[in-house]
């Protein structure tokens, strides 16, 4: 091995250690952009992350992806061991849970659409609980009469339920195949997929002071 190679190896090893330390230190998942200033411009962050992920793949702690961010989390298979009974917090109400599932699988979606699926009104408290938990966020406003707020899930939602991407939602393919992600009947040829990316064409951004109150008269 030439000296240059050795140097390169040293640099890379140090970059790996830095990323490891950063991710270990943080309770929240970190994006590549957040880690980048610490390792310098020359670093190939995706490759380093992948190396670290492989290194920890069979450990008690794994490097997991959460949307566009990365975090160390205890291994899934040890869950039963580590489960802390006393920590079971106030369980979610059935209404909140169903609403969360509908938002997750149908996002971006409006309150009216959620109510259409459930066949019953969504109480304001239900939405508040989900937003307070940090799992649901207001994305924008749909460009339809009444400009209803559109809702979607957050990265904290992915983190809490151990999902890498929205596409990891359990049973997503079956639901899609059965045409059950459509909000309209009959199931259209194009089945919408849940989408938590940037605003869509039919969504407007929220104004900074928009607290999600109804606008216009249709909502």
């Amino acid at each position: 091995m030439s000296d240059e190679d050795a140097d390169y190896g040293d640099v890379r090893e140090r970059q790996l250690r830095i990323i490891e330390a950063l991710l270990f230190a943080s309770a929240e998942p970190l994006s590549l952009a957040e880690m980048s200033p610490y390792v310098g411009d020359g670093a190939n962050l995706p490759a380093l992350i992948e190396e670290l992920r492989a290194l920890y793949a069979n450990r008690g702690v794994n490097l997991v992806r959460r949307g566009d961010r990365w975090a160390f989390r205890t291994a899934e298979d040890l869950g039963f061991l580590l489960r802390r009974e006393e920590e079971e917090t106030r369980p979610l109400s059935r209404a909140a849970l169903e609403t969360l599932a509908i938002i997750a699988y149908h996002q971006p979606t409006t309150r009216a659409e959620i109510e259409e699926v459930r066949g019953v009104a969504v109480g304001k408290g239900t939405m508040d609980i989900l937003m307070e938990a940090g799992w649901v966020r207001m994305r924008g406003r749909r460009r339809t009469p009444g400009r209803p707020v559109t809702y979607g899930t957050t990265e904290a939602f992915l983190d809490h339920f151990g999902l890498e991407h929205l596409s990891d939602l359990p049973g997503l393919d079956e639901l899609k195949g059965a045409g059950l992600l459509s909000s309209r009947l009959p199931p259209s040829l194009q089945i919408p997929l849940p989408f938590d990316g940037a605003l869509r064409e039919d969504e407007d951004p929220l104004a900074p002071d928009d607290m999600g109150e109804a606008q216009g008269d249709d909502e």
């Binding site: 975090a71 849970l97 066949g119 019953v120 639901l175 059965a178």
Partner: protein
């Protein structure tokens, strides 16, 4: 997945006969009630008889109302819609009828029931995932970032030179002021002269008295002029005597001898 942590999906619904005699409090709306009724048929929702389901629902609402139990409007709206659906299913569609067929309405209801059931299953599966803080843990003792703010100061060369020049100009202006103040007023000169001459009865040159005030060349003229003018005033008042023995000779001053009382 180690069991389903949710209990609502797996909780046995009350026996059917009882349900039909109980109020609708336990249900999350008419769709929920319909779904529960459909599940009791123990067949796939796809194979369900929507007509039978509609009849069952209508009969249930009828019985509840017979007992004068209040039913939420949602349930009654659904009942009306199901009655309409039933009529559309039972009466063959006329050729000029633009409204959706009974089959289409039935398919719509079936779709909604399937979709609601699917969302419930999805919710249950979500809850069954290893969840953060329950089975999966983040770092228990995160080491937070300390952010030290460091200021990068900005100043241009022009600002620097301007700051210097402005201060020196300011300083130069304040240095000017004492010059204008060193014009001796007649009163000042008179007071100083009185003090300097004191009770001296000897002839002393005015410049000797003023020695310490004449050191600065730029003040000499004003000091001399004011002092001489004051001395004439003092002579007039009989305080002092002035003598000059030759032109441009020294001006001598002395206290005038007081008249003996």
């Amino acid at each position: 997945m180690n069991g389903s942590p949710t209990d609502w999906l797996d909780t046995d619904a009350p026996p059917a006969t009882e349900v039909l005699h109980v109020d609708v409090d336990g249900y999350e709306g008419p769709l929920d009630l319909l779904l529960d009724m459909a599940r009791r048929q123990k067949v796939d929702l796809a194979a369900i008889s929507i007509l039978a389901l509609a009849e069952q629902y209508l009969a249930f609402i009828e019985r509840v109302r017979e007992r004068r139990i209040e039913v939420a409007a949602d349930y009654l709206v659904m009942a009306a819609w199901l009655a309409y659906l039933k009529s559309r299913l039972m009466v063959p569609q006329a050729p000029d009828d633009d409204e959706p067929s009974g089959e289409m309405l039935a398919a719509m209801l079936q779709f909604r029931l399937k979709r609601l059931e699917a969302m419930r299953l999805a919710a249950s599966r979500l809850l069954g995932r290893p969840r953060l803080g329950l089975q999966i843990y983040s770092r228990g003792a995160p080491e937070p970032l300390e952010i030290a703010r460091k200021s990068i100061w900005e100043a241009s060369y022009y600002e620097l030179l301007k700051a210097y020049s402005a201060q020196r100009e300011r300083g130069a202006v304040t240095e000017y002021r004492p010059y204008t103040r060193t014009v001796w007023s007649l009163q000042d000169a008179r007071d100083i002269l009185q003090r300097l001459i004191g009770d001296s009865a000897e002839w002393v040159a005015m410049d000797t008295y003023l020695e310490q005030y004449l050191a600065r060349p730029d003040e000499r003229a004003t000091v001399r002029a004011s002092t001489f003018a004051s001395s004439l005033e003092l002579v007039r008042q009989g305080e002092i005597e002035v003598r000059q023995s030759e032109t441009f000779g020294p001006i001598l001053l002395r206290r005038r001898k007081r008249e003996q009382p």
